[in-house]
C-alpha cells in the first residue's frame, strides 16, 4: 500500500441478524446493511459518501471506526489492519480516528454539561488533568463557534445546531488524524453550515486531517469532497474524483440522485430534466438479484437481473458498477480505487 493512503476498506460486510428464522435448511434472514464495500481514503483528502436513506452509510461509518464489528472484511489504518485489534491498541486507534455523529441529540449525554462532554475523550484517554482539560475545552468551544462561557450548560439548553458544534468539538479533542463525519452539518442552517465546512477544511489543511464525509446534501459533498463514493443498498455503485462524478455521472443511480437536488431559485420550478425515481429502496434483507438498482432503473434488462455488475474501471477510466453505464468523457484523474 502506498504511503499516501490514510485508510483502506477491503470488502467490508456488515449483516444484522433479524431474529426471524429462515425457512428450513436456509440461513436466518439478516439485514445486509453493508455488503462488500471497498474504498481508499487518501491522506489529507476528503472522501464523500452519498446515497439513499438506509443504504448503509451510517453502518459503514460505524464499522470503519470499529464502533461495531464487521461481519467480514478488513480495515487498514495507515497500512495496519485494525480489524482485529483490541485493548490498548484499540484505544490508541480510537484516538487516531474520531467520529462526528448524524444525530446531535442522542449522541450527547443529557446529564453531562457541555464541558464534561467535550472533555470526555481526554478523560477516557487519561490525557489531561482537570485544569488543563478545562482550558482545552474552552479552546475547542471557541474553535467551533460556541461561547466558551457556556461550558457549564447542558445539551437541552442549546439549539439543534449548537448541539452539533458540541459533537464536533468533542471529536476534535484528541487531535485525530482521521475524522468520520456522519451528516455533520445536516441539522445546521446554511450560514452556520458554511462556517463549519470552512472550519473542517481549515482543520484538514492545518492538521493534514483525512476525512470521510457522509451527507445527503449533494452540494455540500461537492464542495468539500475530493473523491466521492455513491452507495446503493449496501454497495458502492460508483466512485471517483468528485469533479468527474458530478460533471458526468456514470451510474444511472448517480444521475438520478444528482437530478433530485433541490433547485437554487424558485423560477426554476417545474423545470425539465428531472428524473424522479419511483418507489423506495428495496429491503436490504432481500436485495434484488443481479444489479440491486434494477427495480428502479429505467435502463434495466434481463442481464441486470441475472448478473451482478462488478465495481470496475470502464474503458473511460471511470469506476462504476453497471452493465450500461452512461456515456462519459475519458477520465482525467486517477481513480481512488
Amino acid at each position: 500500500m502506498s504511503s499516501d493512503v490514510a485508510l483502506q476498506a477491503v470488502d467490508l460486510v456488515k449483516h444484522f441478524p433479524t431474529g426471524s428464522k429462515g425457512l428450513l435448511g436456509r440461513p436466518d434472514k439478516s439485514v445486509r446493511a453493508v455488503d462488500g464495500v471497498s474504498f481508499t481514503l487518501r491522506k489529507g483528502k476528503t472522501l464523500g459518501i452519498v446515497g439513499e436513506s438506509g443504504c448503509g452509510k451510517s453502518t459503514l461509518a460505524r464499522v470503519v471506526t470499529r464502533l461495531i464489528e464487521p461481519t467480514s472484511g478488513n480495515i487498514l489504518l495507515d497500512g495496519v489492519d485494525i480489524t482485529k485489534t483490541s485493548g490498548k491498541d484499540l484505544r490508541n486507534m480510537r484516538r487516531q480516528m474520531q467520529m462526528i455523529f448524524q444525530d446531535p441529540v442522542s449522541s450527547l449525554n443529557p446529564r453531562h454539561s457541555v464541558g464534561q462532554i467535550i472533555a470526555m475523550p481526554l478523560r477516557v484517554q487519561g490525557l489531561l488533568d482537570e485544569e488543563h482539560s478545562n482550558e482545552r475545552v474552552k479552546e475547542l468551544m471557541k474553535l467551533v463557534g460556541l461561547n466558551p462561557e457556556h461550558f457549564n450548560r447542558y445539551p437541552h439548553e442549546f439549539s439543534g445546531g449548537q448541539r452539533q458544534r458540541i459533537g464536533i468539538a468533542r471529536s476534535l479533542a484528541l487531535n485525530p488524524t482521521v475524522i468520520v463525519a456522519d451528516e455533520p452539518v445536516s441539522a445546521l442552517d446554511v450560514s452556520v453550515q458554511a462556517q463549519i465546512l470552512n472550519l473542517l477544511e481549515r482543520l484538514q489543511s492545518d492538521l493534514g486531517l483525512s476525512m470521510i464525509f457522509i451527507a445527503h446534501d449533494l452540494s455540500v459533498v461537492r464542495h468539500i469532497a475530493d473523491d466521492v463514493a455513491v452507495m446503493y443498498l449496501g454497495k458502492i455503485v460508483e466512485i471517483g474524483p468528485a469533479e468527474e462524478v458530478y460533471a458526468s455521472p456514470a451510474h444511472p443511480y448517480t444521475k438520478a440522485l444528482l437530478s433530485a437536488v433541490p433547485i437554487h431559485d424558485p423560477s426554476e420550478r417545474g423545470g425539465p430534466g428531472r428524473i424522479r425515481l419511483q418507489g423506495d429502496v428495496p429491503s436490504p434483507i432481500d436485495p434484488p438479484s443481479g444489479c440491486r438498482f434494477r427495480t428502479r432503473c429505467w435502463k434495466a434488462t434481463d442481464l441486470c437481473g441475472a448478473v451482478e455488475p462488478p465495481l470496475q474501471a470502464e474503458a473511460s477510466g471511470r469506476v462504476v458498477a453497471c452493465h450500461f453505464p452512461e456515456e462519459t468523457p475519458v477520465s482525467i484523474g486517477k481513480s481512488p480505487e
Binding site: 461537492r222 464542495h223 440522485l257 437554487h264 431559485d265
Partner: protein
C-alpha cells in the same frame, strides 16, 4: 400579505422565554404573522433563532415549568395559549398537526406502526369500529407510499428506513385531516431522492386535503421548490417576510442577503472558503441593544445610531408585499437587495 379571507392561523405578539440558571432566554421575542388557507409558508433562519420554539407554541408544547409564553395564537378563533386542556387536545391532530425532523422521536419503538396510526385516529374518532380503523390505517399507508402495507402494518419502527419512518409520521399527522400541518425540518435527515419524494408527497396531500403547510427548513433549495411566502427569523425576531420570488430576487434585509450569499457560494466544484456571515448569533439572554443583527451587519453604520439603539419594527418595503425589520431606507434595501439578486 393582503388577503380578504380570515387567516387560519394568527400569531399575535408571541413571546416565549425560558428561565435558566444564567438568566432569561428570550427565544421568541414579539412575533406576529397570519397564515391563510391552503398556503405554504416556509420559515428559515439561523440555528437557535426560535423556529422550533415558535412552532411548538402553536401546539402548546412549550409547557415546561421554566417557560413563559405571552401573546395570542388564534386557531379557528380559539386562543391556543389560554384554551383549556380539552380544547387543546381537540385542536392537536384534527386542526393542527406537527411532524419533526427526527421521525424516531415521534414514534414509539414498542408499538407496531399500524397501532400508532390507529391510535392517532381513535383519539378523534372514539366510536370507530375495529374494521373502520383498520381500513383507515391501510388507506393512509397507501397514501403516503408505503409498499405492501398489509405486510408492514404489523412491523415496528426500527424495521423501517429513515424515509419510510417519516412517511409513517406523516400518515399519523394527516390521519385526522388537519387544516394546518407544521413540519419542523421534515426532510433534514433524509437524502435527496427521498426528500424529493417526501416533498412531492406533502405537496400532493396538501392539494388533496387543502391544508396549510408551515415548513421549517434551513435548506433554501427546499424553500425555492415549495414556498409561497417565506418568514426569515433571527434571534427570536422576524427580520423579513416576503413572497418567495421576492426573497430570492430582491431580499430586503441584510441578514437575508448574507443567508442567500452563503448558499450561492456553494458553487460548482471544490474551491476556497464559502461566504459566511461573520461572527456568531448573539446570546438570547443578553441580546444586543437596537437591532439584534447589528454586531454582524456590514450596513449598520448606514443609519446613524439607530441600529445600535432602536429595535427596528417589521414594516412594508416596496410594493411587492415584502416586510423587513431594518433601519435602512426602503430605497437602500431595494437597491442593494436587487444587486444581490443571484440569477
Amino acid at each position: 400579505m393582503s388577503n380578504t379571507a380570515a387567516p387560519v392561523l394568527s400569531v399575535q405578539n408571541l413571546r416565549v422565554s425560558f428561565d435558566t440558571q444564567d438568566g432569561t432566554v428570550r427565544a421568541v421575542d414579539d412575533i406576529s404573522f397570519d397564515v391563510y388557507a391552503g398556503e405554504t409558508i416556509c420559515i428559515v433562519g439561523e440555528s437557535g433563532s426560535g423556529k422550533s420554539v415558535m412552532a411548538g407554541s402553536i401546539m402548546r408544547l412549550n409547557n415546561s415549568s421554566t417557560a413563559t409564553t405571552e401573546g395570542k395564537i388564534l386557531v379557528n378563533g380559539i386562543d391556543v395559549l389560554t384554551a383549556s386542556e380539552e380544547e387543546v387536545r381537540g385542536i392537536r391532530g384534527s386542526e393542527v398537526a406537527m411532524i419533526f425532523q427526527d421521525p424516531m422521536s415521534a414514534l414509539n419503538p414498542y408499538f407496531t406502526i399500524g397501532k400508532q396510526i390507529a391510535e392517532a385516529y381513535v383519539v378523534h374518532h372514539p366510536g370507530a369500529s375495529k374494521r373502520e380503523v383498520h381500513d383507515v390505517v391501510l388507506a393512509m399507508m397507501i397514501k403516503v407510499g408505503i409498499p405492501s402495507p398489509e405486510k408492514r402494518i404489523d412491523e415496528y419502527p426500527h424495521q423501517f428506513s429513515g424515509g419510510m419512518r417519516q412517511r409513517i409520521v406523516i400518515a399519523i399527522a394527516l390521519v385526522n385531516n388537519p387544516k394546518i400541518l407544521i413540519a419542523d425540518e421534515p426532510t433534514t435527515a433524509l437524502d435527496v431522492t427521498v426528500q424529493a419524494q417526501i416533498l412531492d408527497l406533502m405537496m400532493s396531500l396538501q392539494k388533496e386535503f387543502g391544508m396549510t403547510i408551515i415548513l421549517i427548513t434551513h435548506d433554501l433549495g427546499v424553500v425555492a421548490e415549495v414556498a409561497q411566502d417565506v418568514i426569515v427569523m433571527y434571534a427570536g425576531h422576524i427580520v423579513e417576510q416576503s413572497h418567495v420570488d421576492a426573497l430570492f430576487h430582491s431580499p430586503t434585509h441584510p441578514y437575508s442577503w448574507g443567508l442567500l450569499g452563503s448558499v450561492a457560494s456553494y458553487g460548482a466544484n471544490k474551491r476556497g472558503d464559502l461566504y459566511t456571515i461573520s461572527g456568531s448569533p448573539p446570546s438570547l439572554i443578553s441580546l444586543p441593544a437596537g437591532c439584534a443583527f447589528h454586531p454582524r451587519c456590514v450596513h449598520s453604520k448606514g443609519s446613524g445610531n439607530a441600529c445600535m439603539t432602536v429595535q427596528p419594527k417589521l414594516r412594508d418595503v416596496g410594493t411587492d408585499g415584502s416586510r423587513s425589520a431594518c433601519h435602512l431606507t426602503d430605497d437602500v434595501l431595494i437597491s442593494i437587495g436587487r444587486g444581490s439578486d443571484r440569477s
